[in-house]
């Protein structure tokens, strides 16, 4: 419920409050200039750019290979999804086939990544309204998942795992040994979260009917992902334009009804359960085979070839010095990232460096719609609403 229509007991002149950029609830980097009438927000101006690192400029001056570790730093709570999105775009440009096993492995790690993204957001949403315990439990659960990805990629956060034509390494046996136990632990934590928040009057009062954006307005603003699904629009790229092996897996798309903070919370919660189910199916279905299909235009040859044959040495030299050289053209590839449609638009001029490497960041649209979501609410509602959009600075400002 917006509060703007409530009569003020005492007339007050407008007051301006600057929230952020250095404010714990602004997740580090956004500044909201707000004008208040009493306690009601009447105007908001969002200023972003404090974490702008010139991603696109840097990519235009790097080879295709060098961009992969940089994509880890876009959405830093679900890095593998960025790896996958970028690699799929380059593979589409090259016309590469990825082995089935590698595709399943990408689905498994991608869904783990999505769970860690949603855990962060939902945990932080609890924290914004004072439920610190939930945040700590969810971060603990996130750590279980990061240990799993560490088992595969060697890194907790910046994985740099996908390659053009497959993945850096296969899923080891130890990973499958750990997986089921870890998923059970995460489910237990989610169950604890249900007990802590779902019937908690304090939490419900702060998130229900707050920050509502209707389905029509959300589409106008270009919303995708959980934010759009919370308004009732069942748009999920895994279903709408299946990539990898999502058409072989069975999953539901949860949708909300109202489009308030609470619906976003519920949609993310349900998506985590769906992701766990997807991972279990993928583990049951994953075929034997290679994890990587080498193409000499796209990636470095195996080290034994580099040291053992002159062709391998030349290929290695060419990819290092010139970069992988895809055919000329332009390509757009979108995947369902943690926040929604994560798109990569590449323009190739036939050289080893992308002529243009554009990232379509999903949370850009959410932040641009903040004024509409905030105006009319109390100043105290700013923080829970802001928490519900899951703003990730790395992908917002690149």
């Amino acid at each position: 419920m917006k509060r703007s229509n409530l009569p003020l007991e005492f007339g007050a002149e407008p007051m301006d409050i600057e929230i952020g950029p250095s404010h714990p609830a602004m997740h580090g980097i956004t500044r909201l200039s707000t004008r208040l009438d009493g306690e009601v927000v009447t105007a908001v101006e969002v200023e972003i750019g404090y974490l702008h690192r010139g991603f696109e400029k840097e990519c235009e001056n790097s080879t295709y290979v060098q961009v992969i570790p940089y994509t880890d730093r876009l959405n830093y709570v679900s890095p593998i999804l960025n790896n996958i999105g970028y690699s799929l775009a380059v593979e589409k440009l090259f016309g590469l086939d990825v082995p089935k096993r590698a595709q399943y492995a990408r689905v498994i790690l991608g869904e783990l990544s999505r769970i860690s993204d949603h855990l962060t957001c939902n945990g932080a949403m609890g924290m914004e309204v004072g439920a610190m315990t939930v945040f700590l439990w969810y971060v603990k659960a996130r750590e279980y998942l990061w240990e799993l990805t560490e088992e595969v990629t060697g890194a907790r956060l910046t994985h740099n795992w996908t390659r053009f034509g497959g993945n850096a390494n296969d899923l080891p046996d130890t990973f499958f040994d750990m997986l089921e136990e870890r998923l059970k632990k995460v489910e237990a934590v989610l169950e604890e979260g249900v007990k802590m928040l779902f019937k908690n009057k304090i939490f419900l009062d702060r998130v229900k009917d707050v920050g509502v954006l209707s389905r029509e307005r959300a589409i106008e603003y270009g919303f995708t992902g959980p934010m759009l699904r919370a308004t009732g629009e069942p748009y999920d790229l895994r279903r709408a334009e299946p990539y990898l092996v999502y058409n072989e897996l069975d999953f539901e798309i949860p949708v909300g009804t109202v489009g308030d903070s609470y619906d976003r919370f519920l949609v993310r919660h349900e998506e985590m359960l769906q992701s766990i189910s997807i991972i279990r199916q993928a583990v049951a279905k994953i075929p034997k085979g290679g994890h990587y299909q080498h193409d000499r235009r796209a990636w470095l040859p195996d080290k034994t070839e580099v040291y053992g044959s002159i062709e391998g040495l030349i290929d290695h030299f060419k990819v290092i010095m010139e970069g992988s050289t895809p055919p000329k053209g332009e390509v757009y590839q979108a995947i369902e990232g943690g926040n929604g449609e994560l798109g990569f638009y590449l323009v190739s001029d036939g050289t080893g460096k992308p002529y243009k490497c554009r990232v379509r960041p999903p949370c850009f649209n959410f932040v641009s719609a903040l004024p509409e979501m905030l105006i009319g609410h109390y100043v105290g509602d700013i923080v829970p609403i802001y928490g519900s959009i899951n703003m990730i600075g790395g992908e917002l400002e690149r």
Binding site: S33, A43, E56, K57, E330, Y345, S368
Partner: protein, 190 residues
């Protein structure tokens, strides 16, 4: 890539409504793409949004590419998606830097609100001014930044001086500030 044997339906529909507006089209890698003339750009975008057989209700992305040394120099690229019909389209429009209308393009933020920030970012990075935009100012960079960094002639190693700390009063600029109302312009002392 070889040209497709028959024109895909979206391109055909646009050509039927606006003959001559589509100057080029391709379907490379399966992405349907049209290049439209600059003076027809707004009309074509309006058609794409409102036509019952097209219904592009989601503006996915807006960006530009700088083809330095070519004419027109810039190409603004818009990606559209229809949620109800499920198809996608990439619309490209050339923007030159010569003549009276150099580096300008009509805004589409009246059609999709989402374009508001994307156009601001595009202006910030490429210096393309979107005519009719409600609030065209820098988004990711700061006001005193010189130049547009994603232009190809902007040196990647160029460094710019740090910004002086501005008084809060100067930074204040709300979108819906009413300048005729005296209580709006006279600020309370902090």
């Amino acid at each position: 890539m070889t040209a497709p044997a028959e024109t895909p339906p979206i391109t055909a529909r646009v050509e039927e409504k606006f003959p001559g507006a589509v100057t080029a089209s391709h379907q490379q890698f399966g992405d349907e793409t049209i290049t439209v003339a600059k003076d027809q750009y707004l009309a074509v975008m309006t058609l794409l949004r409102n036509d019952p057989t097209l219904k592009f209700n989601l503006m996915v992305d807006l960006s530009a590419v700088d083809f330095l040394g070519q004419s027109p120099r810039f190409q603004v690229v818009v990606h559209l998606k229809s949620l109800s019909l499920g198809h996608r389209l990439r619309v490209k429009v050339g923007v030159g830097e010569d003549g009276p209308e150099a580096c300008t393009l009509p805004t589409i933020s009246k059609l999709w609100v989402a374009a508001d920030w994307y156009e601001r970012e595009c202006f910030d990075m490429y210096g393309i001014r979107f005519q009719g935009h409600p609030n065209l100012k820098r988004l990711l960079l700061y006001e005193s930044f010189v130049g547009h960094p994603l232009r190809k002639d902007y040196d990647i190693h160029l460094q710019q001086p740090r910004v002086e700390l501005r008084p809060v009063r100067e930074r204040y600029d709300y979108q819906n500030r009413n300048l005729t109302d005296p209580s709006e312009t006279e600020r309370r002392p902090l």
